[in-house]
Symmetry: C2
Subunit: 365 residues, 2 copies
């Protein structure tokens, strides 16, 4: 592989391992595996999942649903509350595939009742503590009102309740992730129970999020999981406790432009338009935009004490505390970097290169 | 304009005003205006600049240089230190246009001396306090060594010294910007003077950065300015003191998805894949991803106390303190948002729409 500019490399072997791990977990629990495609947004990576038996998928926009529907996916959940301005596109999709929508407002359901031309399955969006979107899980009055409203429409069928436990991203250990998982499951089961009391039978539970899907084992109380990030993983997921560094399936390869002996820093070609500005804070409170690692073909080991410490649009600065490593590096070398946030990095790059040099297009961004 | 998804709107009138302001300043000072195209990365916006008489441009990558060269630009500075791995592309460019390169390493100059096939002009990259890239301004020994090394090559002509006063982004007032401008100019003049003592005559000075170009008036000691962000401006530039809110030439238009009465928050379609994760801290220490404003066609006024308070990949949350405004907003409305960082937002969006509905492609990203 002849790398001359910032390049996002993917290990297909590691991706398949990551998929198989979660997929077998879903099978052991006898539940539906509906991976979120927003991380890779790629028809090719989608094919890898299809080959492993995946039939149901999640996306986060109508645009992404259109793209994957065109690529042959026939059962798609848009896990973003319906944007009523996109009704024409929603109707077009609902005509040709099994479309599953997410709702949370009286106004939206009313609008859909008037405008929908084809049958759709509908999930009520539940907030189990992330406080970003959805109806609060303990707001039984509003949830039941939405359920009754949906049941009175012609084209919408209420199939379940859906949540994204985004607050699991605040976890810093497997134990904390498990605690969020248990709490989320209990809340969703409670919502399901109350709806049953009101006469709504067979309400399914769908939960999202890579941390809980990666760490928890017991999903017997839910019907569906929708993790996305797990296909690639990243340093954020390592920090949360979802995975090990070895499970991260992508690396940035970036050219070394200059060395600054006086401050043990390296300038690389690679910045915010490649990595995104997402970062994490390490134990010492330093801002980290990425850690250096070996390329995939060498034995895995993070190069300790070398991290991307600041970025601007195209420039990246690597701070190297390991002096031997600093002395080894030459202008024109390639350094390998584990990304902080795989989803944003993949979206920015627009393509990935496999270890055998095959280009994987981020087709559906 | 029928807006149904996150859309980046540009006021061409405001862009032309912004360009004319800096361009006349360069003319008053009798210096070269070489705007940086990394902000818009657009052939169409480039044409607006060309029509106003701009002939010399700056870009931040070989890729961008290739794209604008193909669009007819014949004098391009790549204001990113040479990446020696791109030598084939550099030679191709140098064959067809006046190419100006930035260097700072002995290794790079040696490599270019062996590999360059066509004449290029060369600038030495000087660090005047940003500490990101370049040779420290007071490292006279290294700067002179580079100058001698360049002069001994066949294809490279040393034309000047170049700096980007990126530390001007830490300013919070016009006064602080002016102080950075004065300091930077003095340092560059000192480097020029020392080089002259060593026999290097006619060394030009090139300075970059929107803050200093926007605020300072006296550029009599430099030969060239290379601002980029000023075509659009953004909230960061307002905070720095470079411009007023009224001068920001772009707005995000985003659909309202849901309202949360219990916490005076609005969910919009618009997140990190649109705005980027760049943010600023307001006077109260709150993280701001954007401020709400009126659309361009209404009289300008920021909607006070309404800001994008958190974002994930596609979701944006707007915190509204103004209760009247909160009550007015309906699901399916469009809200207008001033972006924090115009360059990253434009790069992510890939296109802009003018007020007359014309689509402007971000062609060269």
């Amino acid at each position: 592989m002849n790398i001359i500019e910032p390049t996002l490399i993917v290990s297909k072997v590691q991706v398949l391992n990551n998929i198989n791990k979660i997929k077998s977990k879903a099978e052991r629990n006898g539940i539906r595996f509906r991976p979120h495609f927003k991380t890779h947004q790629s028809i090719e990576v989608g094919k890898w999942l299809k080959k492993l038996g995946v039939k149901h998928i999640t996306v986060s926009s109508v645009r992404m649903a259109e793209c994957f529907a065109k690529a042959g996916w026939e059962d798609i959940t848009i896990a973003f509350p319906v944007n009523i301005l996109e009704i024409i596109r929603i109707n077009n999709l609902a005509k040709s595939i099994q479309l599953n929508l997410l709702v949370e407002s009286v106004e939206t359901i009313q609008f859909l009742d008037e405008e929908l031309q084809h049958d759709v399955d509908v999930w009520i969006n539940i907030d189990t503590g992330y406080n970003r979107d959805g109806v609060a899980w303990d707001n039984h009055k509003d949830i039941t009102r939405l359920a009754f409203q949906i049941n009175k429409t012609n084209k919408m069928k209420l199939v379940g309740i859906l949540t994204h436990a985004g607050h699991s991203y605040k976890a810093r250990s497997k134990k904390e992730i498990l605690s969020v998982h248990e709490d989320t499951t209990n809340k969703m089961v409670e919502v399901q129970r109350k709806l049953q009391q009101d006469g709504f039978d067979g309400i399914q539970i769908s939960v999202g999020g890579t941390p809980t899907a990666s760490v928890a084992e017991d999903f017997s109380m839910v019907d569906e999981i929708r993790p996305g990030n797990f296909v690639f993983y990243d340093l954020k997921q390592v920090q949360i406790g979802s995975c090990s560094e070895e499970e991260i399936a992508i690396r940035f390869a970036c050219p070394v432009i200059a060395k600054y002996e006086e401050r043990n820093e390296i300038l690389i070609d690679g910045g915010a338009i490649h990595f995104s500005k997402d970062h994490l804070l390490d134990a010492q409170g330093r801002i980290i935009y990425g850690y250096l690692s070996q390329p995939f073909n060498k034995e895995f080991s993070r190069i300790r004490d070398a991290h991307v410490s600041s970025i601007s649009q195209e420039h990246g600065t690597i701070e190297v505390s390991n002096n031997d490593f600093f002395q080894e590096i030459r202008v024109g070398d390639i350094v390998y970097i584990m990304p902080v946030h795989a989803c944003l990095a993949t979206n920015l790059m627009g393509k990935l290169i496999t270890l055998t040099g095959k280009e994987i297009s981020v087709t559906c961004r």
